[in-house]
Amino acid sequence: MNARLLAAATGSWLVLWLPPIRHTLESDMVLHMAVQVPLLIMLGVLVAVVARDREPRWLADADWLGIPGIVAVVLGTSFWMLPRALDQAVSDPWADLIKFLSLPLLVGVPLGLSWRRMPPLGRAFIWANFIPKLGAIGGLYLGAPTRLCAYYRLDQQELAGWTLIAIAVALGMTWFFAAFVGWTPSCAKQSPRRSGGFLIAAVGGN
């Protein structure tokens, strides 16, 4: 099972790296930000699922309440949200390779490992920060006076802005309705009543 997961993750990574696919996904700002980047992070999360059992104890201990890991996630994603960084990835294959390695390994893996360690309140707080920030960045894309990325047109930037706002609204609504009906993802079902239902949603359970 683990070997298969790892093979699937590596295979998907290679497929994403194939020039036609890579160039298609990077030719458009929305595809780049809202499809390629999250996919790369997800591949890292898959790796974390495999690595979980082999994680050295000292690492688990050092990752107190999952905070260091989640800080790494925040830093990694923030870096790849910088217009300059995205530009660099489009223009320079080496920079793109760094993106292809850092998003799974420095964002996806810590996300998969640390999220489970975070107490429910911490996870909920991260969601509650992530959603408005996504919306605000979308709003700023719409309000920006000029192109933010040298490689993307103004209309692509506007579409990216609306996409981010739509994702923020969709995430907010999903979060709300999940809490309203008390939905818990199957991976977190162990003790939904004790652990706080939806708050443990997303990557990995308790």
Binding site: L121, A124, L142
Partner: protein
């Protein structure tokens, strides 16, 4: 379902934490009331305040009052909800610390930086000070709001966690099944849980929206070329601001559900109508804010029509079941009136009465005449000062030795009530005579309203001062005491 909350899990005494909230609230409430009085006296031309400073005071009074209303009503909510669900005292106190940091930033922005763009910080005003305040002062104000928002977010999320761990879903905690006849009303969640659920739904969504618009405003301050659609920003700000202040009443009303039954020796009965009211008000509170935009002709007409209709309906369901419930609990119960019971009772009355001019103003035809008049502070001071604050003062009196020294508390009660009535009536009658709101300088014809209003305000503040001093006197014994309910 009762849970011994966090007992034994934390070294911090939860009761002392509630008292700390109330102590901070008492002091800030009084200080903010004095700022309000300063404005009224300036409008009455009894004291001299420069117009620049008037707007600083107005901004500080608005932001300070809205913030402290949130804080003290959160204390009421937390005190009662923790009887039913596990919550963290540490998180509760974290909110207080965040609040204090935010308050320092906001006060610094106003009194040191001169920020005076009103508590509503409507975009793009913070960035256009006309030289009255610096960009940093505006940023300090916005960051202060973010601190306060983050604190409340944590508090509501923690209560959500506790509620979900007991009830499974927010819908169940709100009593949706009971509301639609799918379960017996008597088996529904306790009123404190239902009210806390509505408060957290509304405030979490409001804070998320508020955070987004605050970030955008901050960026606009430092990089003015990043603009944002001003009408969209206004929508977002009112979504957050209106919801936040509105929810304070829904948190404070828990005091009525919990305190009156103790003195009346009668349980607060819940039935399907009670839960249906809370479900409806939850939906309305999230959609009612458009009545703040009735003057914005660029808004799509349907949103304004919806704003009008929802304004009529919004508070009514919960208000009706609460007012009706209050009367049934009190009627022929043999209740021996004491200041705590009288204050929470007054809270329901002040809320019910204040809603009437509010509904009038939520009507487009009336709004186009009354909107920027003192009718508006008239109606919201009625249900905030004589409604929400009365409920909180009732809670404070209830916690701190309600058995003795009634005499002085009654004096405080009557001064506060009579002064408060005169103060709000002065606003309402000035509004009906078209005296504009938010004017630093008033013409001679308006002065009688301002002067009567000032006298009323001074009496009300004296009454509140007595009640709060009495609270501080009783605080020491209250920290170690049991609830009067036993």
């Amino acid at each position: 379902m009762t849970i011994a909350a966090t007992a034994g899990r934390t070294a911090i005494n939860p009761r002392a934490a509630v008292l700390a909230y109330l102590a901070v609230s008492g002091i800030v409430l009084l200080l903010m009331m004095l700022l309000g009085l300063t404005m009224r006296l300036a409008q009455a031309q009894w004291i001299d305040v420069s117009p620049d400073f008037f707007y600083v005071v107005m901004t500080m009074h608005g932001a300070g009052m809205v913030g402290i209303a949130g804080l003290c009503s959160a204390a009421v909510m937390w005190h009662f909800v923790r009887r039913h669900v596990p919550v963290s005292t540490a998180v509760f106190l974290t909110n207080l610390v965040f609040f204090l940091i935010g308050a320092v930033l906001i006060l610094g922005a106003g009194f040191i930086g001169g920020f005076g763009a009103a508590w509503t910080f409507l975009f793009p005003l913070p960035a256009h000070s006309g030289g009255l305040w610096s960009v940093n002062a505006a940023a300090a104000y916005l960051v202060g709001l973010i601190f306060i928002g983050v604190g409340f977010l944590l508090l509501h999320l923690d209560i959500a966690r506790g509620i979900l761990s007991v009830y499974g879903g927010l819908g169940a905690a709100l009593g949706v099944k009971q509301a639609f006849g799918l379960a017996h009303g008597e088996e529904g969640p306790p009123p404190a849980v239902t009210a806390s659920t509505m408060a957290l739904i509304a405030n979490i969504l409001g804070i998320l929206v508020g955070a987004a618009v605050l970030i955008i405003s901050l960026v606009n301050l430092y990089v003015p070329s990043f603009t944002f659609n001003a009408l969209a920003a206004k929508n977002l700000i009112y979504y957050f601001g209106h919801t936040f202040i509105n929810v304070t009443i829904y948190m404070a009303v828990i005091a009525v559900y919990e305190i009156l039954p103790i003195y009346a020796h009668r349980a607060w009965k819940t039935n399907w109508a009670f839960y249906l009211a809370w479900v409806l008000s939850t939906v309305f509170v999230l959609t009612v804010y458009t009545h703040h935009l009735l003057m914005d002709f660029a808004m799509p007409t349907w949103t304004l029509v919806a704003g009008q209709v929802i304004s009529w309906l919004s508070g009514l369901p919960v208000l009706l079941v609460t007012a009706f419930g209050t009367l049934t609990v009190v009627y022929r119960s043999g209740l021996r009136w004491n200041p705590a019971a009288a204050l929470v009772f007054l809270g329901v009355a002040g809320w019910a009465i204040g809603v009437i001019p509010a509904i009038a103003d939520g009507t487009i035809a009336v709004n186009s005449v009354m909107h920027n008049t003192q009718w508006v502070p008239g109606h919201f001071h009625t249900y905030l000062l004589l409604g929400m604050v009365a409920m909180v003062l009732g809670f404070m009196t209830y916690l701190t030795n309600p058995q003795s020294r009634y005499g002085v508390a009654w004096l405080g009660y009557w001064l506060y009530l009579l002064g408060g009535v005169v103060f709000v009536l002065a606003f309402l009658s000035a509004g009906s005579a078209s005296v504009p709101r938010r004017y630093a300088v008033h013409v001679a014809q308006w002065l009688p309203y301002d002067r009567i209003g000032s006298i009323g305000a001074a009496c009300a503040i004296a009454g509140v001062l007595i009640l709060i001093v009495r609270f501080f006197v009783g605080m020491r014994t209250a920290a170690s005491a049991q609830d009067p309910s036993g």
